[in-house]
Amino acid sequence: MTEIMMNSLNILAVGILLASLMAMTTPRMGQLIRIFTLQSLMLACMAALVGYHTGSEHLYIIASIIVLLKVFIIPRFLNYSIERIKVKRELEPLLGIPGSLLLSAAIVVLAYFVTEPVISLTEVITRNCLAISLAVTLIGLLLMITRRKAMTEVIGLLMMENGLFLAVISTSHGMPLIVEMGIFFDVLVAVIIMGMFAFRINETFETSDTSILKRLRY
C-alpha cells in the first residue's frame, strides 16, 4: 500500500518537474499557461494524496484551493491579459531552447546534490521530492531570467511558487492552514497586480518587453 502510494507520488513529482522543463521549451504564451495549469493540477493531486496518506484533513482543503485558484482563476486571468496585450509568442529569448534545456538538466543534478544531506535525515514519505521541488523553483527562476516578455516572467514566478509549495508538502506535509491561505491570497493578488502592470508597460511603451525598461534611467 505504502509502496503504491510512494510510486504514484514519485510519478506525480517527476510530472511536475517535466512540466517545468516543458515550459522552458515553448515560446507560445497559450501553451505556457496550459502547462502551468497542468502542473498545478498535478500539485493538487499530490497534496490530496499526501493528505490521504497522513490523514491530515487540511491538505484536502489546500488541494481544492489549488484547483480553484491555480487551475481555474489564475489561468483565466492570464489568458484574458494576453488577449488584451496581444502578445502570443516569446520572440527572442535570451537563451535558445537547447541551451536552456541543458541548463535546466544541470539544475536538476545540482538540486540533487544540494538536498542529498537533508534527504538522508528525514523519514517522511515524500522526502524524495525535496530535490525535485528545489529544481522546480530554480527552473522557474531560470524561466524568469531568460525570457523578456512580462507575462512569461509572471508564469515563471508562479512556477517558482509551485516548487516552494512542493517543498512544503514534501518536508513537513503542509504548513498550518491559515499560513497557506495567506500565501494563496498573496499569489492571487500578486498575479492580478502583475497582470495590470504588464498591461500598463504595454500601454506606455507599446511593448511588454521588460529589457526595454532599462531606458527609464535616462
Binding site: 514519485n10 517527476v14 517535466l18 537547447p98 538538466a105 536538476v108 540533487y112
Partner: protein, 313 residues
C-alpha cells in the same frame, strides 16, 4: 540434446527478418486509410523488393568500391542486430543481446551510409549525408542515456536480462525512470529511422529529404538492400522499444502456452506502435531542419531525467 531453444531463437530471428517489409507496409496502409485513400496492400513492399532485385543497376562513374560495398555492410549490420534481439523468448540467436553493442553496430550502418552518400558525386547525396550526420550526433547521447537508465533500473545492459527483470518485477517497477526512458526512446526511434517530424519518408523533395537524399544514387539490387535495411532497422528499433521498455508478456520458458501468449502480446504491441507512428505521421508536419535540435535536446533531457530519477527517488 535439446534443440527446441535453438529452433525457437532461429524462428524468432527469421520472423523478424520476414516481417520487416510488412511492418512498413502496415504503416503506409494505415496512413493511407487515415488520409482517406485506399492504400496499397501489405505485400507491396515485398513486390517492390522483388522488382528492384530483377532490375539492372546503374553506378556513377565517379563512384569507388565503397559505393558497391555500402549496401552490403549496411544490410549485414542491421541483420546482425536483428539476431541480437529477444522477440518471443528471452534468449537470442546472436552473440548476446548487449544494447550498447547493438546500437554501435547500427551506428556502423549509419556511418557507411553517410560515406556512400558522397560517392555518387551528386549534390543531394552530400547534403543528405551532412544533415544525417548532424541528426545522428544529436541522437547518440539521448539514445545511450535511455539505454543506460534502463540498465541502471534492471542491473544489466543485456536486453535479455532487462526484459526478464522488468516483466517479472511487478507493477512497482512502473516508475518515473521507466516512463521517462521510454518516452525518450520513442523520440529517438522516430529520429533514428527518419520518420516524420525529422524527415518525411514519403517524399523526394530536394529541400527537405534526408534519408532519401542519401540513397538517391542507388538503383537495382543495391537499392533493394538499402531499402530493406532501413525497413528492418525500423522493426529492430520498435522491437527494442517494446521488449526493452514494456516487455510484459515475453516468455522465459519453452512452454508452448507462454510462447503463444508472448506471440499475441508482441504482435499487439508491434501493431499498436506501428499504428501510433502512422497516426502521428498523418497528424504532424515535418519540422524545420534547424528546429530539430530542440526536439532532440528534449529527448536527451528526458533520458537524463530518467537516470536522475533513478538516483533521486
Amino acid at each position: 540434446m535439446d534443440y527446441s531453444l535453438f529452433i525457437i531463437t532461429t524462428l524468432q530471428f527469421l520472423a523478424l527478418l520476414v516481417s520487416a517489409p510488412a511492418a512498413v507496409g502496415l504503416i503506409r496502409l494505415l496512413k493511407a486509410r487515415a488520409q482517406g485513400r485506399r492504400g496499397a496492400s501489405l505485400l507491396q513492399p515485398y513486390r517492390d523488393l522483388r522488382k528492384l532485385w530483377r532490375k539492372d543497376e546503374q553506378v556513377s562513374e565517379d563512384a569507388s568500391w565503397l559505393f558497391r560495398v555500402a549496401p552490403l555492410i549496411s544490410a549485414a549490420s542491421v541483420i546482425l542486430t536483428a539476431s541480437m534481439l529477444p522477440v518471443l523468448h528471452v534468449t537470442v540467436l546472436g552473440p548476446g543481446s548487449d544494447m550498447i553493442l547493438a546500437i554501435y553496430i547500427l551506428m556502423l550502418a549509419r556511418a557507411i551510409l553517410v560515406l556512400s552518400s558522397l560517392e555518387g558525386g551528386s549534390v543531394f547525396g552530400g547534403m543528405g549525408g551532412s544533415r544525417d550526420s548532424m541528426i545522428s550526433v544529436l541522437i547518440e547521447p539521448a539514445l545511450l542515456l535511455s539505454i543506460f537508465s534502463l540498465a541502471a533500473l534492471a542491473g544489466s545492459t543485456e536486453l535479455s536480462s532487462t526484459a526478464q527483470f522488468i516483466s517479472q518485477g511487478g507493477y512497482l517497477i512502473i516508475g518515473p525512470t521507466l516512463i521517462l526512458a521510454a518516452a525518450s526512446f520513442c523520440i529517438t526511434t522516430l529520429a533514428e529511422n527518419a520518420r516524420l517530424p525529422f524527415d518525411n519518408p514519403a517524399t523526394h523533395l530536394e529541400l527537405t529529404m534526408v534519408h532519401e537524399a542519401m540513397v538517391l544514387e542507388y538503383s537495382g539490387r543495391s537499392l533493394a538492400l538499402m531499402e530493406y535495411s532501413s525497413w528492418l532497422k525500423l522493426t529492430v528499433f520498435i522491437t527494442i522499444l517494446v521488449n526493452g521498455f514494456l516487455p510484459w508478456g515475453i516468455s522465459s520458458t519453452l512452454d508452448p502456452l507462454s510462447l503463444a501468449l508472448a506471440f499475441v502480446a508482441f504482435m499487439f504491441k508491434l501493431i499498436l506502435a506501428l499504428g501510433l507512428i502512422a497516426l502521428l505521421e498523418s497528424q504532424m508536419a515535418k519540422m524545420r531542419l534547424f528546429r530539430l535540435p530542440n526536439l532532440l535536446t528534449t529527448s536527451f533531457t528526458l533520458a537524463l531525467l530518467a537516470l536522475m530519477a533513478f538516483y533521486i527517488l
